[in-house]
Symmetry: C2
Subunit: 362 residues, 2 copies
């Protein structure tokens, strides 16, 4: 069991920003939300999947929308709790716990906020092991979990409740309402049993966020390189995760727009020493990185932007012209590279016209 | 009580197309749907508001979408019934009857189809007394009826259920889902009591459709002018309805697009004898008619296109280059010209930059 405190909070949100691979929203927002709860004396119980019974009922809670919007129109904890309660009304059962749908960014923190508000524990597992932009891009769908009901709530506590024929259709329908709710809505979906979590979720990614954040903090203290520290740490995780620095350079151009409920764009970097140019394309999260004409990394492997000096992860909504950054890539666990998994969140699932090649082979 | 039969069916749908003022979808579709039910021996009970108790519970059922879509992706009776049943689940009460939200086009026929499928009677009253393109544009809102729950269903029987803070917000949210459902969805909303119908709805508009259709048919038989027959008939209704022919001409240009869930466009007509040009602007329904620089008629007064020879009403999705048509306008009852009513469906409610002037004064 992990204990979230005012002291380790920043490590958690920093690690979550790293796993967010550019998406999931500014971790600063998540930090503020959790700080507010902790300062009021609220406690948050985080349980590993190994600690839960098969028959408990857990709901995924999240903010849907474009990270660029999250900064101005901050996720709403009570509205997320309202979504959870509406989901309970529909399935006519009470939830025993909540969980994150993705490990990255603000969405890693939302279930912790709901936990503080409701007293329900948080299960340390998620459906992406990182962040992905769309609802159907979860390992739950490698199993046969049901996304319904999908409950969307806005700041007026207006609700939209969907019963979709599959998770892709649920994403398609709910995203339109998300846009009309102002580019963000609070959501409950994918009610799951403890057994389903054990079988289909990526485990202990909250713990992983804490650890990554701590490694970055320790490296800063010890005046060593935070990026190297994270890569070294990931190498020793189980299963081992391969990582490397793809590029160190300066942002020379940035095309970013908020469109159809997503933050989409292209990031261009140049080295200080030569004319090499790195392109990183994103849809909320970084999708692939291309050096001149050669692809260096692609989804679902993690691509992260880190400040060149401090190692602070930078989200796609925080990118700006002139920043000196490192682009780092980390491999995903084998379970996220199966054919069924790549159908859900490999390059083709994003409309890209190339097949997946693992980071290690590029 | 009105009895719908295979013999009087066409009069009904023709009259409904007239009241549709260009919108509400091709009456041919509605006729086919009802014909199918009647041929199977189904009966449809239509009750006047004067025949119902104050405490019965009635739900509005309709197709939402762009009329241009309705022709290719026909309204789905069983899906509409499914929407009704979902609304019952949410309010935890059974409906005693259904009713149309608008008097015009296909949407005048949908409740009759649901009646045939469910055995529930149809109340002969609606919220528009004609057709309007948006959910909040109903006389129910002159009273304080609640639009919720709003249930949207598509051909896959996927559901989206909204609880909106007001009817405008309901329209805004549901329209986005309607577009993602392919530009059409089946809907249940505005659950109402008999008392609310008596106080806020426009009464006996189904009967009015039958009568208008019959007048057109009779005029054809008697070789008199169908347009004149309708205008004369409306003059003698209670309250009296003023009507006139605005223009007789040929369609010289037509700009029509299906956008954001609506059929929007501009219709240009020229006389055969001189250079006068009539512009008619539409959003599903005809919004206003302008002769050279002078406005001749505007919402909420009815503007209808009728075939120059047969008097057949023509919907905005059925308009085509070269058609010889008459543009007719009929005044709405005084209840639809109050300040509150004009706020809901006067020119300003459609984003037009002029104030309402009654047809008689133009």
């Amino acid at each position: 069991m992990i204990q979230l405190t005012l002291d380790n909070l920043e490590n958690f949100t920093r690690g979550a920003a790293f796993l967010g691979t550019g998406g999931g929203g500014d971790p600063y927002i998540g930090k503020l939300m959790l700080k507010h709860q902790l300062e009021q004396g609220k406690t948050i119980k985080i349980l590993s999947p190994s600690e839960i019974d098969d028959d408990i009922l857990v709901c995924n809670v999240l903010s849907m929308g474009a990270p660029t919007v999250f900064v101005e129109k901050v996720p709403n904890g009570p509205a997320t709790l309202h979504a959870l309660r509406k989901a309970e009304e529909i399935i006519k059962k009470k939830f025993d716990a909540v969980m994150p749908i993705e490990a990255g960014g603000v969405n890693a923190t939302i279930p912790l906020v709901v936990s503080a508000l409701s007293g329900l524990p948080v299960i340390d597992a998620d459906g992406m092991g990182r962040a992905f932009p769309e609802l159907q891009m979860v390992t739950y769908n490698v199993g046969d979990c049901n996304i319904n009901p999908i409950v969307a709530v806005n700041d007026f506590m207006e609700t939209a409740i969907f019963n979709a024929r599959n998770s892709s259709s649920g994403e398609w329908l709910a995203r339109a309402v998300c846009v009309r709710m102002g580019g963000i809505c609070q959501m409950a979906c994918y009610p799951m049993t403890g057994k389903q979590i054990k079988e289909t979720a990526i485990h202990n990614t909250i713990k992983l966020s804490f650890d990554i954040g701590e490694k970055i903090q320790d490296a800063r203290k010890n005046k060593t390189d935070p990026t190297d520290a994270v890569i070294e740490f990931m190498k020793h995780s189980k299963p081992t995760r391969f990582g490397k620095v793809l590029f160190i350079g300066k942002i020379t151009d940035l095309l970013r727009e908020t469109v159809n409920g997503f933050t989409r764009g292209k990031l261009y970097l140049k080295r200080l020493s030569n004319e090499d140019e790195l392109l990183v394309v994103f849809q909320n999260e970084f999708l692939y990185a291309k050096l001149n004409d050669k692809i260096l990394a692609m989804v679902p492997d993690l691509i992260c932007a880190m400040d060149n000096e401090s190692g602070e992860p930078i989200t796609t909504d925080g990118l700006r012209y002139g920043q000196r950054i490192k682009i780092v890539s980390i491999s995903v666990p084998p379970v996220m590279r199966s054919i069924k998994a790549l159908d859900l969140f490999g390059p083709k699932a994003f409309g890209l016209d190339f097949d997946y090649v693992p980071l290690e082979n590029l």
